[in-house]
Symmetry: C2
Subunit: 319 residues, 2 copies
């Protein structure tokens, strides 16, 4: 079974890692959100791409899920000592990635070419694609005005109340080479447990990607467990939009954002067992299981659950 | 006595440091070579400025004389691991300087404003000026063709035989604000023991700087000791130009490059005692002493020798 996963940062990367452990490398392709990407200190930073790649390479920080393992912070410390902006903390090892990516972009390479090159260096055998090679930065509309995503997310620690999102230039963005092909060739598309608003929606907003999903078996894994996000502001965002954060709300979100009928299957946490029936009432096959990935082993276990469920889904669709 | 020093990298920085120990901070100003400056990985690197500032701040690597103390190399190591160019090794702490300088240049600040700001952060109380805020990169003409200075110096380890130098755009370069004033206000200008060809000549080539030296008491310290350069390619350059490298040759170089009569005094090493008379024959007052600065104490001792000699020079000129 060929799987193509859509992923944002830490949560998505963990399931991608589980899938990578469970599948032969040629059976898994990953499309990663680029809406969070931004320019800082003259460098192109791609937080989700790097989190997915570092995780797949086994060189991610196991504590935080993002950034590099055994990281040092000498650049930032010395930059701060001369008055430089230290609100977005970049580790030393991590900076090697940003400097080289920025250099190659300036030399004319595309983000997807660069990502492919880095994956090879890091020994990653799965194809990893940025959603687009075109810039499509997410802006967050808040009660304090609109701000770039990382300013909202890191500098302001998600404090300002949210009113909406804008993916700048996304109408002009083209899917990166290989993205649509990876979706069309997949037996199953897995929407990883990432933030629906700012990790998955930007991918789906790239013209062509949503169309490539049409008629595909699509399985989403809920990032909301017991009304909470494991990490990040997803639950807070739902609340500020006047929606009670829940696994059900996420399923409804994907159905609405993709004009209905998109989800074939949905994997939700056992703590949200009570929402299995409401999800099924949307016409979606639902499975409740342990989805909280605390250990490396948890990643593989969830991936195996997802794959077993997917076999059922794909088979029943073929009938 | 007000001293303004002209300096390149390591050797020059050591004497500047000695002078800083010997003089009240307001009595010493330093003009630093910017011909070595270059762009690498999208960053503006100013090797001589940083060496002088790190040295004055007491945060230079005591082993090499350049770069930061207790440096780490995680950025470069990880950049190299993904195929990035590692021929010019930039330490992690050092990179904090380059990133912030590049950010401030992009924001519209001048190199001299940035240098002044960094000096303040580092607790440097002397005025340190780049020779110019305008780019004036040194190119080395060799038997293998012309190449940017750092490519010759670092990548090619000074291997190609030299035919000449070119300071690109130097005719259009303006002295940085404060440079000419610092020269005009000085009781004595000290040319530090730096490479005459690629550290001091670029400073003197900035229109206005040479003129500001006219009629001043100028004292140079020889960077050549016993026919050798303590560090760097100065001796090799003399040889390749068909000149026997010597303290005398350096004195002749400054006299020739400044159309004669520029040097009032010359401090040379005791190992070159035999050249004292030939230097005096050029009409220059000469002193031979220990000039090899191996320890922190040596820096102060040489500075004190220079200052004592300068008192004689300035007094005898006033007579």
């Amino acid at each position: 079974m060929k799987i193509t996963a859509l992923a944002g940062g830490v949560g998505g990367a963990k399931l991608v890692d589980g899938l990578a452990q469970a599948l032969p490398p040629e059976k898994l392709k990953v499309i990663v959100n680029t809406g969070d990407d931004f320019e800082h200190l003259g460098l192109r930073i791609c937080p989700d791409l790097d989190t997915v790649c570092y995780t797949l390479a086994g060189i991610a920080n196991p504590e935080t899920g993002w950034g590099r393992d055994e990281e040092t912070w000498n650049v930032m410390e010395n930059l701060a000592a001369i008055g430089g902006p230290a609100w977005f903390r970049l580790g030393d090892k991590d900076l090697g990635t940003h400097l080289e990516r920025t250099r190659l972009l300036a030399a004319g390479m595309t983000l997807s070419e660069i990502t492919s090159r880095f994956c090879q260096s890091w020994g990653i055998r799965q194809e990893v694609y940025p959603a687009s090679d075109d810039r499509m930065p997410t802006y967050v509309d808040t009660e304090e005005g609109e701000m770039p995503f990382q300013e909202y997310f890191v500098k302001r620690r998600c404090q300002p109340r949210i009113k909406g999102f804008r993916f700048e230039n996304v109408e002009q963005a083209r899917p990166a080479p290989g993205v649509c092909e990876a979706l069309l060739a997949a037996d199953l598309v897995v929407i990883c447990p990432s933030n629906p608003w700012v990790s998955i929606d930007p991918i789906l907003a790239v013209p062509g990607i949503r169309q490539a999903l049409s008629g595909k078996a699509v399985l989403a894994v809920s990032p909301i467990i017991g009304g909470q996000a494991v990490k990040g502001p997803a639950a807070k965002m739902y609340t500020e939009f006047g929606i009670s954060p829940s696994a059900l709300a996420v399923a409804q979100h994907y159905e609405a954002s993709m004009n209905g009928g998109i989800l074939t299957g949905y994997v939700m946490d056992w703590r949200d067992e009570d929402q299995v029936e409401p999800v099924r009432a949307l016409g979606i096959q639902a499975l409740s299981t342990e989805t909280w990935m605390k250990t490396m082993q948890d990643r593989l276990q969830l991936a195996e659950k997802v794959l077993a469920f997917a076999v059922l889904l794909v088979t029943s669709r073929d009938d």
